[in-house]
């Protein structure tokens, strides 16, 4: 759990879909200690424009080989610079940072819900869940359109059921991930946490205490996380979400990445980025 600053060798940095890059890093220092949901704080360029590091979640972890993979979308100056870094060069990274997902004992039925780039950390989580003896993993992947649907193959290879939802309907169902989540949950409810989620009948369901075997894990924009919290609440499903906030230090020193929780302002980089959705104060 010791944080380190290190020079990580870039093994792969390639565009896997327009604007989406996968980067593999050899991190001698700490790859073995990284947990799904944690992030690296990355110096994208050399000069002071951009100035700050960029937080990027770990996407896949091969602890034994000392390799960590990232999946990132080119957004502004920082991620643009990252995308131009070439294989064989070294990236200044600090990590592993933050608290990852916590999978409580007894959960065996996992629903992962990703909006946009939210898929990135959920693959690492699914990799971990896949090692469990008893498990069923459903992933709901939401995106604007077919062009930004990524990681479907990764989830399927792990043995997860992947449900795709796009806003424009260009791939999978048309609509929002949150509507799909509602259907999936209801489906679960009827079938008493049965693993098959093929049909989403609109049968009337009773909202009630939910089976503790179910764990919901979300990553995506704030508005999506808020909706997920709202949907999950009546069912009392334990739901964790990974949050994003502008970061300075990334290590808990500057109180820059505050998020409002029931306990007051907490730090996304330190107490998070994974929070229990029930703890967040939405506004």
């Amino acid at each position: 759990m010791q944080k380190l600053q290190t020079k990580a060798e870039i093994l792969i940095n390639k565009e896997i879909a327009p604007g989406y890059f996968k980067m593999a890093l050899r991190i001698e220092g700490f790859a073995g200690n990284v947990r799904p949901g944690q992030f690296l704080h990355i110096r994208a360029g050399m000069g002071y424009d951009p100035l700050l590091r960029r937080p990027i979640s770990v996407h896949r972890i091969s602890g034994r080989q000392g390799i960590v993979e990232l999946l990132y979308k080119v957004n502004g100056k920082g991620t643009q610079l990252m995308s131009r870094r070439s294989k064989g060069t070294f990236l200044d990274v600090v990590g592993p940072l933050g608290n990852g997902f916590k999978v409580p004992k007894g959960q065996s039925n996992f629903v992962l819900i990703a909006g946009g780039m939210g898929v990135a950390p959920l693959v690492a989580l699914a990799d971990q869940l896949a090692t469990y003896r008893k498990k069923a993993i459903t992933v709901i992947i939401g995106a604007k359109g077919a062009g930004s649907v990524v990681c479907v193959k990764e989830f399927q290879e792990i043995g997860a059921k992947a449900i795709i939802v796009t806003e424009d309907g260009s791939r999978g169902d048309r609509g929002l991930v949150t509507a799909m989540l509602e259907k999936v949950i209801r489906d679960f409810d009827i079938r008493k946490t049965s693993l098959r989620t093929r049909s989403y009948s609109l049968a009337d369901v009773t909202i009630g205490d939910y089976a503790p075997e179910v764990g919901l894990y979300a990553c995506g924009p704030m508005s999506m996380l808020a909706s997920v919290a709202k949907i999950a609440k009546p069912y009392k499903i334990k739901t964790q979400g990974s949050f994003e906030e502008r970061m300075g230090c990334g290590v808990g020193a500057c109180f820059g990445c505050a998020i409002k929780t029931q306990r007051g302002y907490e730090r996304v980089c330190k107490e998070g980025p994974v929070f229990d959705l029930a703890d967040i104060v939405w506004d």
Binding site: L51, L52, G248, F255
Partner: protein
Amino acid sequence: MKKINTERALEINIGGLKLANPVMTASGTFGYTQECGELIDAAGLGAIVTKSITLEPSQGNPPPRLWETTAGLLNAIGIQNEGLDDFINTKLPFLKSVGARVVVSIAGRCQQDYKMLARALNNTTVDAIEVNISCPNIKHKSASLLFAQDPDSTSYIIRSVKKQTNKPVIAKLSPNVTDIGLIARAAEKAGADALSMINTLIGMDVDIARARPRLGNVTGGLSGPAIKPIALAMIWQAYHCVKIPIIGIGGIMSTEDAVAFFLCGASAVQIGTANFVDPAAAGNIIRGLRLYLKNRNMKNIKELIGQLKL
């Protein structure tokens, strides 16, 4: 070539605060060491300046609290901290246990706050008190200006703190003033043992898509390389106005930057935003300064202070 005792080349006395080297981490950028401790060797620093503490716990400003500008950082943290008691009971013992020299930064809304903070801290193991009268992110009772924007308020606060403590007292000044010399002299006359400058410059930025400020607090404080030339000019001016030592702050990223501050009159430096960009910065600067002096056959960092040739 004379033989130089490089071990002691960086030793410096800042108004009674004796340090093994003149490089500190700036308030608010290093937490209380628990956070950065794994990345930075706190005991190797000249000192760490704590995040400003207030009498009572303070929850800070609504997010977003940070915004990156070109070569700069806007922050509006609002001094989120757990208050004086927690500092004395938890933070300070930890800092001391890792071998750090500790300058505690104190902030308040009125003279009474500063007075009580200083009194309570006088009996602790802190090595010095930095009086933050220049934080652009907290509102004061009654006044629209920061204490450090007014020579009388500066004097009043510093005098009150001095009366409560025999620790070295450092007055932290704001660059948002018409005449930094005026404020520097006011602080000196009030008994400050040293000045630290500059705090951040008031700034803001706009999210044009939503026509909203980028910071929850609307305005914030600008730090980072963008402000370095401003800090250097202010220190150079203050250096010619006061006799007490000046701790230079503002956009220091490298040894070269630090040397520039010494040449302009700083007796020590604080590293702020650079800690975020490169946690190794402060350590690198300490090593860099040692080497710089050695290469120039200088006995002590003091030989650099204010030595800019015109």
